[in-house]
Symmetry: C4
Subunit: 211 residues, 4 copies
């Protein structure tokens, strides 16, 4: 804690990261079109036709939300910052802030046979980048307990490493599967978002400190 | 309060929730078109024609604002968080962040006889979802005083439960009424927004602690 | 200050208000078109033609910025909140969050003789509403020293009242002038934004406490 | 530190500045178009054709991110605020909040021979304005140690002055070069963004206090 301001050293980084994640998550809604009733087509059916937009909104919203929850847990154990750590977080946030765009690309193209593969790949690459950068932020902080408290349990640390590492691997595999079936790939992203919502999917990072 | 950071345990959740609600409320203005004067139509009449957009802006803005005030009161008594509680809040915020979209759908379609029913139903379903998720957040926190202080008065707790429960019921009824009259339904949403502004509509959640 | 959280009672209101003002001020840029070079027109001249958009951006940005500075000063003396005060702040923020829209309406119509009066009136009405709501927030807090510390100097309080009251009066007059000349009206809004930037234009609300 | 609120005097300014920078950085993604597959053109090639948008997104994101990191370091030594300092920060934020616009102008025009010079100049002028205002904020705070602690080392202060001053000079030169080659100019902006990411590019402002 900074004795001059009474705030923890990571406080302003958390505020900035929360801001970027809160904005990216809220901008997702802007990508959903506002249809108008026209001759020969009711508004109800126009709204129903947009279901991929709603599904993409929910999957991306939950994914960013879960990343925020995990970032929140991370900063329960990270105690300090360095210039390089701030820079790494900026690059991490760059991948999250990009998510509204592939979300819209998928929603606009998933029902078109010619476009759905490229759209799912763009979505998957963004998701994989987010997962890689999350691991980079964590590994930098954990290496040699650089930004962690000294009382961390090494075996718990290895468990958390493994748990986080499953993210980029799973997302990379789901992205590759898009080349075979875009629907399957997007289904996996949706299933993963649902899975992270479950309490037992949490890596329980707070256990690090009971070592 | 977290002795390491000097901040309450719920502080970062409140910051994130405030961020999402502040952004959703401010994005509402982007849904109002910017008309230009054209041949045979003055800008003044084009601006006047857009009145449903202004009305929808005001109703949605006040609704999110009131939800923010109530969320603020809630976290005056909620003292802790759990992983599941963070996840519930993410799902609650997902419904609030969606509101700019049905607001625009209503503004674009309310004067069109073929579209107004579907638009009002979309608006009502979003409002009802917000109210249901608000209750879910509250009930999770209150169940067995899970996240509340131990000195809560049980009879006051039942009073707050009843007060919050009136939200989803009222909004669900107003949504169903849209099938009969979209104007009536939207009028009820506007009247409810006005009612929540009144000081005596507040559930006075702070009384919980004087038990 | 709240002994439980270690934060002042107005802290979360300030965070929410800062969020809405920061978002409204940053959304202003979205209203400026992105021109492309076309046949017979260079990008340089297309960019130059858009000067009303840049001017409107600067005037609205500075106006919201100055309101933020004043809101900041206000909460240097306001110590408590009530439900009604939170509601008043929500209505105040509703007028600020609306400003990107009349800003875009003015930028799109100021060079069109048929549209500029209506555009300037829309802009002026929004500015006047902001100024009225700012006074409402302040007067509610100050009435009977409801939310102020007890050691406020009554003559200083009257001075601050007069200083803030000049806002809605000036803006209302500038709005009325738009019926005679939209350019004059917009020039006054620009001049006022410039004037508020000057250090001696500040109402020095911190003097309230040296009474 | 303010004894009444337990927060540092600059806390609310930092929150507001963080908000504006977080929003500006996150709005950048809205400027990237969402292509749809059409007859005779695959989505994959449409996505690939948009590479200037991705490059402009990355350069602007990293630039704002680095400015945020530096602003963060600045407020590690700035201890107080004045009305004029708040106003200077508002003007500084006005230049940062404008960046999504020239970013989109460059992305839309960089491959068009007729437009790329004007686009790169618009981008460069915005970058130069940001760098000038950053220096203005810093110089105001440092002049006569107005807002700095009294134990600052004068020779370190001169070193920081020189380090920050290189920003506007470099950006002004890169802007002028756009008149000769827009690609070269944009390449320099990209290279600078990459350079600031390196740990040794930091002006190490925290050394000021070890004087």
């Amino acid at each position: 804690m900074d004795p001059r301001t009474g705030r923890s050293e990571t406080s302003r980084l958390e505020t900035f990261a929360d801001g970027v994640m809160a904005i990216a998550i809220t901008l997702l809604i802007l990508e959903i079109d506002v249809p108008e009733a026209g001759p020969g087509r009711s508004l109800a059916s126009a709204l129903a036709d947009q279901w991929p937009s709603y599904a993409a909104y929910a999957v991306s919203f939950i994914t960013i939300g879960i990343i925020w929850v995990n970032h929140h847990h991370l900063f329960g154990v990270i105690e300090r910052t360095t210039h390089a750590f701030l820079v790494l977080n900026v690059l991490f946030l760059m991948t999250i802030a990009a998510l509204p765009w592939p979300t819209a690309v998928v929603a606009a193209n998933i029902r078109d046979e010619a476009g759905r593969t490229a759209a799912a790949v763009a979505y998957g690459l963004t998701m994989t980048s987010i997962a890689i950068m999350f691991n980079a932020v964590w590994r930098y902080a954990a290496a040699g307990l650089r930004l962690l408290p000294p009382d961390v349990d090494p075996s718990e640390l290895r468990r958390v490493h493994r748990s986080y590492l499953s993210g980029p691997i799973t997302y990379a595999v789901a992205t590759l599967l898009a080349l075979w079936s875009a629907w399957l790939s997007m289904g996996i992203f949706a299933a993963l978002a649902g899975y992270w919502l479950l309490p037992w999917s949490s890596p329980r990072i707070e256990r690090l400190r009971s070592g």
